[in-house]
Amino acid sequence: MSGHILWQDRAIAFRAGESVASALLRAGVIAFGQAPTGQARAVFCGIGQCQNCLVQVDGRLAEACLTPCRTGMHILPETGACDV
């Protein structure tokens, strides 16, 4: 199943089984926002070890590289104050 996710207000196409990180990178989105420390959020290890690619996925903090895309999923940069 392919489809679209939303990165902020932009629709991004994804392929069946693709991770959020992969879809964003293919669309030219390299910077995923900023951590509370001021460090840039971006893909680094790509396999769920480093936590550098954290984003908000439908309001919850998750690793973009481990999260499979689902149609309608809304991705936002981390704000430092989300999640439970």
């Binding site: 910077a31 420390t37 290890c45 790509g46 481990l66 999640d83 439970v84």
Partner: protein, 425 residues
């Protein structure tokens, strides 16, 4: 509880090979992996409908292992999209994600593979800079190379493999910056197993045909963001040069991904594959089988099987590969500018480390310095922090096991079915 499954963390070569041996001995096995499909890093599978870029040798190895898994039927359960949260002193294991549960397995095999070593440099935290393994994962899943200029830098055979794959996909890298001089020791290289030589020759030929320069004995000293691109300052034997690129993939070898992972007195815990000793795919398969068979024998009260000779062979081959790539890069750590980030998670710098004074204790490094205390658990900084803090102590002193083994949302914790109620703790 003898009907509880053995839990294997990691559905790569080592984890699945161990699972097969346990199942062959009649034991039920649950394999959990945080990825969506089995394969681990080495055998990362293409997305549905995408062709595989794996070599015929790699494809045969994986297909053979998956056939062995399938032959065990319901004795092996794969739980994908499921992360290991940790094991407590009673032997209760927390899994989160698709297969969330809190339960007591009969035993634990940790097969979480390798982590990439990436030496800190100014600019290594910029977007567009990632590990070579990260970029390679996308090549494997998408069978396409990213657009734009790509630079590969660091040290190790993965740089050549990745460069050759990029070339094969029609977008060769701008250059490969290799700190060692692996091509300057042809006589010593002949001591490598034939499969290594064949693989290496294929990579070099493909890179040569694509005209990819290999800058040996060179170091990527610093990365700057400039005008929407990345500028790489490279120290070569002939002096400093700069390359402007769009993406940079870094790699300084692999190490066991066992940081922060526990032992538990309440149940048998074994490590298998790269997680036990980082020797690459060939050894991971053999070691997974050996550890699986060893655990099965232990649980069933049978004599221990003989150790796998393949692991010793691969240890010798990997030691030679390391000697061929040997370089003085580690000494460059001491010369890093003070504002270079060491701990990526909490943005702790060389200056922050120096501020702790001479020969800081583990406690000072962790509690005062906050090194290796972030969500990556020190996977990417502990080695460098330890070396910078105590250059003469070779063994990293950071990265002790912690609960949980990875960040877990409280909502996930609350939603996890607790199957340990009523169990004897």
């Amino acid at each position: 509880m003898s009907d509880a499954p053995v839990l294997v963390i990691g559905a790569g070569l080592a984890g699945l090979a161990a699972a097969v041996e346990l199942a062959r001995a009649g034991l039920p096995v649950l394999v959990a992996d945080q990825a969506q499909t089995p394969g681990g890093a080495v055998h990362r599978q293409p997305l549905p409908g995408v062709r595989s870029i794996a070599s015929p040798v790699q494809r045969r190895r994986w297909a053979g292992l998956m056939a062995d898994v399938q032959a065990q039927g319901t004795r092996i359960t794969l739980s994908m999209g499921t992360a290991f949260g940790g094991v407590d002193h009673t032997g209760a294991v927390l899994l989160t994600g698709a297969g969330a549960r809190l339960f007591r397995p009969r035993a634990l095999i940790v097969a979480t593979g390798a982590r990439e070593r990436v030496q800190p440099r100014p600019g290594w935290t910029l977007p567009g800079v990632e590990t070579a393994g990260s970029l390679q994962t996308r090549l494997k899943t998408l069978a396409e190379a990213p657009e734009g200029r790509v630079l590969l830098a660091g040290s190790g055979p993965l740089l050549l493999a990745l460069g050759a794959e990029l070339a094969r996909l029609g977008r060769p890298p701008v250059a490969i910056v290799e700190a060692g001089r692996p091509l300057s020791h042809p006589i010593a290289a002949l001591g490598l197993p034939m499969s290594y030589l064949r693989e290496g020759a294929e990579y070099l030929l493909r890179l040569k045909l694509a005209g990819v320069p290999i800058l040996a004995g060179s170091h990527l000293a610093a990365i700057r963001a400039e005008g929407g691109a990345l500028v790489a300052d490279i120290d070569t034997p002939k002096g400093r040069r700069s390359l402007t690129v769009d993406r940079i993939a870094l790699h300084d070898g692999i190490a066991s991904n066992d940081i922060g992972l526990p032992d538990c007195p309440a149940l048998p815990v074994l490590r298998a594959g790269d997680c036990r000793e980082a020797l690459g795919a060939r050894a991971a398969l053999a070691d997974g089988r050996a550890q699986g068979a060893a655990l099965a024998a232990r649980l069933l009260g049978q004599p221990q099987p003989a150790p796998a000779p393949e692991v010793a062979r691969q240890r010798a081959a990997q030691a030679l590969v390391a000697r061929l790539h040997a370089h003085d890069g580690a000494s460059r750590l001491a010369a890093l500018p003070g504002d270079t980030v060491i701990c990526r998670c909490e943005a702790r710098t060389v200056n922050d480390l120096r501020a702790l004074g001479p020969d800081p204790t583990d406690r000072q490094l962790r509690l005062d310095g906050r090194f290796s205390m972030g969500p990556c658990q020190g996977r990417f900084c502990a080695e460098w922090t330890a070396r910078l803090a105590a250059p003469d102590t070779p063994k990293p002193r950071l990265g002790a096991p912690r609960w949980p083994a990875r960040p877990i949302a409280i909502a996930d914790l609350l939603a996890t079915p607790d199957e340990t109620q009523g169990d004897p703790a």
